[in-house]
């Protein structure tokens, strides 16, 4: 773009055609295939040769600074032939006091050229430091905005340049600025596209792997169930059912992992610490794996240390998951030979260590891959990628679980030489005498339960477990019945469903607490996966939450938990809720509405609903007005949208709404309006998302 050069206090001379031509040629440098540092250097050099000047300085205008300031981006000296970028002395020069006049002139598009001695004293004071006699200052505009200026210093007094010559110089720098910023934008955009593509690929991989993880136990269940029909021998049937149970347990672990992982990107494992007999708990699992190995004509050997304890303390289901994943992996990559699973216990520096090692004679893993195989959903890309294609989340889960148990996992392997995975988990203490465990079973017998659930099947599941324990129990179909029963009985433990007709679990709990105090432990059984509901349970006075579907182990684990552990857990849930109740929002800010509402949640809800109704309506109005090039409607709708966006804390200026209105009012470019509209739409949709989140915590 060109600027009208005001003949303020400065004159212009007649130019020469040859200089004009020379200046125009310099512009070609911008279009060369070189980096910008080179281009700047070359342009400065050529320009100084054409003008015979001493130095050229490029300054960037800083608009966001209170009184305004500028910084030097490049400096070029003819004497040294050197380009200096971002000179540290001049990263922040305020216009005040030396350059206030320059700022006024330059930002209005005026070019300054003069002998230093003719300039005001204040400016002279600064410029004589540079030993310049004559100075030319060109403003640089970008996108109609004053973005900086070029200062050209001359050692000797100089003839005044012509308007034409100066305009060509100005054009040169503006073109350079355009080219560079477009180039930067393109580069950023490409990087963004690349990272989006990468994220997308990773997601596809993850999905494929998750599907795989789900398929494996599902196939087991389907296969076994189909055969169950044809079996006549009760003993085999029972075995099959055990296997199905195992597969279901695996399936649930996978689903839980997916839930944990997808919520905050990092798997969280709620580990329990219980005495259990590892030999017993993993017997089924090992049997299933043995059959799979035998099917592939592999040998399968299980070795327990001679003095391996009867009881260890830990999370049996999670430890089984580790064992299972390791053996899965071994069988998958072994085509001849066999698998050996070893269990050892070791005392080390006062700690008891449980060591599980799984050794195979499979294809092995090259040493350089030892680390990545534990990474989340990594697929090895190498010559052996085909054989590795099936590697999924199994080893990642092993690593995460072992880490959660404060243990470690090592791999010893080389290509073609088989692999050995060694898991070491520290445990608090081993109980080597079995008699200790009897207590907990006795304990269960002596307890009295109340089961509250409106669903027949759920009631059956829970009461079946209680029957097996030999415990005494009553059932209630809703909260009211529960309260009636609780009045006349002293229950030790109440299992409470949440959603029930007549009276829900929250209310029932509150009333039972009023009647009976803290005596009965109340445990919620819920299918909800929301952490928030857990908090509501605790708030209503329950002692804990178990998610449906659950296994008998989950119930026992909870029942034999110590009081202080329960308190600690409740505290944790409450704290988490505290964290959740203060979500951080990027676009919305509800201070304004909250202030007006002064505690009236219904009013805030109503305003949010109005926002949901009106915003999409207004957006589609703008969209169709853009399509019809109806500037008047665009302006009117944008105008109406402004305060609506405002009351949830969006700045109409910032999101581009104001620009739309202004542009539409001034018959502006529809392309620019469209672009701004995209921005507005995105911001408002984001606001809707955030409002939903906000409502959840209201």
């Amino acid at each position: 773009m060109k600027f009208i050069i005001k003949d303020t206090d400065f004159d212009f001379d007649q130019g020469t055609v040859s200089l004009e031509k020379e200046l125009r040629q310099i512009k070609q440098i911008i279009h060369s295939q070189k980096d910008y540092e080179y281009k700047y250097k070359r342009i400065f050099k050529k320009l100084s040769e054409a003008l015979t000047c001493e130095s050229i300085h490029l300054f960037r205008h800083k608009d966001n600074v209170d009184d305004g300031a500028f910084s030097q981006t490049y400096m070029w000296e003819a004497s040294s032939n050197k380009l200096i970028s971002n000179h540290e002395d001049t990263t922040h020069v305020p216009y005040n006091p030396y350059f206030e006049r320059w700022r006024t002139l330059l930002s209005s598009g005026t070019i300054i050229q003069n002998s230093i001695s003719n300039l005001p004293e204040l400016e002279q004071e600064y410029l004589t430091e540079h030993q310049a006699k004559f100075v030319v200052v060109l403003p640089v505009f970008f996108n109609f905005k004053f973005t900086g200026f070029v200062q050209i210093n001359f050692e000797k007094d100089q003839r005044l340049y012509s308007k034409n010559e100066l305009t060509i110089m100005q054009d040169l720098f503006e073109s350079l600025y355009w080219a560079e910023s477009i180039d930067t934008k393109l580069r950023n955009l490409n990087a963004e596209i690349e990272s989006t593509r990468h994220a997308h690929e990773r997601k596809s991989h993850t999905l494929a792997n998750i599907t795989h993880e789900l398929q494996t136990p599902m196939n087991g269940i389907i296969g076994l169930t189909e055969q169950l029909d044809m079996l006549e021998d009760d003993f085999t049937k029972k075995n099959y059912l055990e296997s199905i149970k195992l597969s279901l347990s695996n399936l649930m672990t996978v689903v839980n992992n997916i839930l944990d992982t997808s919520i905050d990107g990092n798997a969280k494992y709620d580990l329990v610490e219980l005495k259990f007999n590892l030999k017993e708990s993993c017997r089924n699992l090992l049997e299933v794996q043995r059959e799979r190995a035998v099917e592939k004509s592999l040998t399968f050997e299980v070795i327990f240390d001679e003095d391996f304890p009867d009881l260890i303390i830990g999370d049996s289901r999670r430890i089984n998951q580790i064992i299972s994943n390791l053996i899965d992996n071994a069988i998958k990559f072994t085509h001849e030979g066999g698998i050996k699973v070893e269990f050892r216990s070791q005392k080390q520096e006062g700690n008891e260590l449980l060591k599980i090692s799984v050794t195979d004679t499979g294809i092995g893993i090259a040493p350089e891959h030892h680390k990545v195989i534990f990474d989340k959903f990594v697929q090895l890309e190498s010559a052996d990628s085909r054989t590795f294609a099936g590697i999924g989340a199994g080893l990642t889960i092993v690593k995460d679980l072992v880490q959660a148990m404060r243990g470690n996992v090592k791999v010893k392997s080389d290509l073609g030489k088989g692999a050995q995975f060694i898991v070491t988990i520290p445990t608090k203490e081993f109980i080597r005498k079995l008699s200790d465990l009897e207590d907990s079973a006795k304990h269960l017998e002596s307890l009295k339960f109340l089961v509250v659930d409106d669903n027949e099947i759920n009631l059956k599941v829970v009461t079946a477990i209680l029957k097996k324990w030999g415990s005494e129990y009553d059932v209630a179909k809703n909260g009211e019945e529960a309260i009636e029963l609780a009045k006349d009985n002293d229950y030790d433990i109440i299992f409470m469903d949440i959603q029930m007709p007549v009276m829900d679990g929250f209310e029932a709990t509150r009333r039972i607490r009023k009647l009976k105090g803290m005596k009965p432990r109340i445990l919620a059984l819920t299918a909800s996966i929301l952490r928030e509901n857990e908090y509501k349970c605790i708030e209503a006075g329950m002692d804990g939450v178990i998610r449906k579907p659950f296994f008998p182990d989950n119930l026992i684990n909870w029942i034999i938990k110590k009081d202080e552990n329960i308190e600690a857990e409740k505290e944790e849930i409450s704290q988490e809720q505290m964290k959740m109740s203060e979500p951080k929002f990027e676009v919305i800010n509800m201070d304004y509405l909250e202030d007006i509402a002064s505690g009236n949640k219904e009013f805030i809800e109503e305003m949010i609903h109005l926002f949901y109704e009106q915003v999409p309506e207004k957006l589609s109005d703008i969209e169709s007005a853009i399509a019809e090039n109806d500037l008047e409607s665009i302006a009117a709708t944008a105008h109406k949208l402004k305060p609506i966006a405002g009351y949830v804390g969006l700045d109409p200026k910032e999101i581009g709404l104001k620009d739309i209105e202004n542009d539409a009012n001034r018959n502006g470019d529809i392309g620019v309006i469209k672009k701004n509209y995209e921005n507005v739409r995105k911001s408002l949709n984001l606001a809707i998302e955030e409002l939903k989140l906000y409502q959840d915590h209201l």
């Binding site: 304004y592 007006i596 009236n600 109503e606 305003m607 109005l610 009106q614 109406k640 305060p643």
Partner: protein, 130 residues
């Protein structure tokens, strides 16, 4: 902030959310009636309703804030009723125009409701309504 039940405020805005917002805020202090455009408000006033103060949006369908203010000022009974104009428009020419045709005050949306409250209270005090 004091409560003045006897003061009747008429709020006119075509945007339901803004109307709700104003209504919710001001009914804590005054007796509030809302209308969704100038024409509706005008008909209501002509039917005999006489508010102690009016808060009106500028851009509205059927009858906008300018027209409404001009018409109101022509009515003898309403010539001194305080009118506050609310607009999403910052331009000083709009502001001046509103004051010129007889509006008492002009606030830019989004506004601080407390500010509007005190401005309103001050005008009402000056006009002897409270």
């Amino acid at each position: 902030m004091a409560k003045f039940d006897h003061i009747r405020i008429l709020i006119i805005d075509d945007e339901i959310s803004i109307r709700k917002l104003l209504e919710f805020y001001f009914k804590k202090y005054f007796t509030v009636t809302t209308k969704s455009d100038g024409k509706e408000a005008m008909e209501f006033i002509k039917s005999g309703y006489s508010p102690d103060a009016i808060i009106a949006d500028l851009k509205m369908p059927k009858m906008d804030g300018y027209e409404f203010t001009t018409e109101i000022r022509k009515m003898k009974s309403m010539s001194t009723t305080p009118i506050m104009i609310l607009s999403g428009n910052e331009s000083s020419s709009d502001r001046i125009h509103c004051l010129k045709i007889g509006a008492d005050d002009y606030l830019i949306k989004p506004f601080n409701p407390d500010e509007l409250y005190y401005r309103l209270i001050n005008i009402l005090k000056r006009t002897g309504k409270i």
